[in-house]
């Protein structure tokens, strides 16, 4: 038995040095160690992406869990001409966007956040944008992103927050690069308008800053 365990460990370790593409090939061959390594490698970034889209950590976990399951179940659909990362990101993006489309989910997440943020804003009138921490920024984005279309939201998150190239984003959301640029441009405009409208306490400072 110890030999068996040792052998399994060596088998798992063998995947650690392999590329993402190799892992998908391993998964295609139904090698569970390859799936394990993919989960080890991608859980963090995928959770981040799902969290940024749906704005809820637990829901993000569920989405990523289903995404990995889909990779296992549907790896035959992976075209070797694609980037593995792009394909996996696409799965997570689509699952997360579908999740957002649920009216129930939307209602559940936006209202409490809105109330919370109003309280935060009214209780901290001296705060500036510079002093907001990451979770406060996440809360603000969650509210403002409600004004974006699904595509605009995905493109803004993938391009601006995840830092992917326009080409990668285009492959993930399955559109042209020029369309990505349009969505990004419109998303910025919508977000700026919404930010200034909903958080005038911040806007005043910054409009004042612009005048200086």
């Amino acid at each position: 038995m110890p030999e068996l365990v040792y052998s399994e460990r060596r088998h798992r370790a063998a995947w650690e040095e392999r590329t993402d593409r190799d892992l998908l090939e391993g998964i295609r061959a139904r090698d569970e160690a390859a799936l394990d390594e993919l989960i080890t490698r991608k859980t963090g970034p995928l959770l981040q992406l799902a969290y940024r889209i749906v704005g809820d950590r637990e829901e993000a976990r569920d989405i990523v869990q289903v995404a990995f399951f889909r990779v296992w179940e549907q790896v035959e659909r992976f075209d070797s001409r694609w980037s593995p990362n792009t394909w996996i990101y696409r799965i997570v993006n689509n699952l997360a966007i579908d999740h957002l489309r649920s009216r129930q989910s939307r209602e559940r997440q936006v209202e409490p956040v809105r109330q919370h943020l109003r309280q935060v804003a009214s209780g901290r009138s001296q705060r500036t944008l510079e002093s907001l921490d990451g979770s406060e920024v996440a809360g603000i984005f969650r509210e403002l992103a409600g004004e974006l279309t699904d595509r605009q939201r995905s493109v803004f998150i993938l391009r601006e927050l995840e830092g992917l190239s326009s080409r990668e984003v285009a492959e993930i959301v399955e559109c042209r690069e020029s369309t990505v640029r349009n969505h990004l441009f419109n998303a910025r405009k919508v977000l700026r308008r919404a930010l200034l409208e909903r958080y005038p306490e911040y806007a005043r400072r910054h409009l004042g800053g612009e005048e200086r």
Binding site: D36, I39, T40, T43, G44, L47, Q48, A50, Y51, R52, R57, E58, E59, R61, D62, I63, V64, Q65, V66, F68, F69, R70, W72, E73, Q74, R77, I91, N94, L95, D98, H99, R101, S105, L129, E130, L132, D133, G134, S135, E136, V137, A138, I140, F141, L144, L161, S178, R181, N182, F185, R188, K189, L191, R192, L195, Y202, A203, R205, H206, G209
Partner: protein, 193 residues
Amino acid sequence: MSCPSWSRLVAHRFAGADQQEPDGWREALEHLGSCAACREAAYAADPTLVLLRHGDAELDGDEVSRMRAGVDALRRARRVEEHSPEQRSPRGRGADHVRSVRSVRSALVPSAMRLAAAAGLAGVLLSVYPHREPPAATAALPEIQAFAPSASIDSWGSDMAATDDFFLSTATVYHFDEDDLNVVILVDSGLDV
């Protein structure tokens, strides 16, 4: 890097969809993270830049292990599905099967409730109730309503849990009937990526 002119740098962001990032844009963004004076100037020029400081998901220490266990549970559920009830005798449920069902239950019930409307494994949690209570008394009815937009709850009889051929052609019924809990979950894997 010295502090750049943010009003000049951010101009491209609102000048048109085909505007290219100016030289030094990426370096300026990195600088922004460590320069308080720049943050004030940058956010004055474009408040949406603050959104780039979106918080992280704050991963737990055992996040990968949890993820692995969850994915494993889903894969086991698939295997349970592949071995249809007709092909097994009731006596054929061994310890391994019980273990896997318990694992599936613990992983799937909360997931199904949250993910029911999502694509792929969009599921419908039909009922979760103590084994001795009749289905009509289930406390999960509000969730049923929320997660099953295309079906009429009233039409589901108490014997629906044993049904494999359901109204959703791509759906699969999981029925975990254990000592303390009776769970029925509909999983619809019909939506593709």
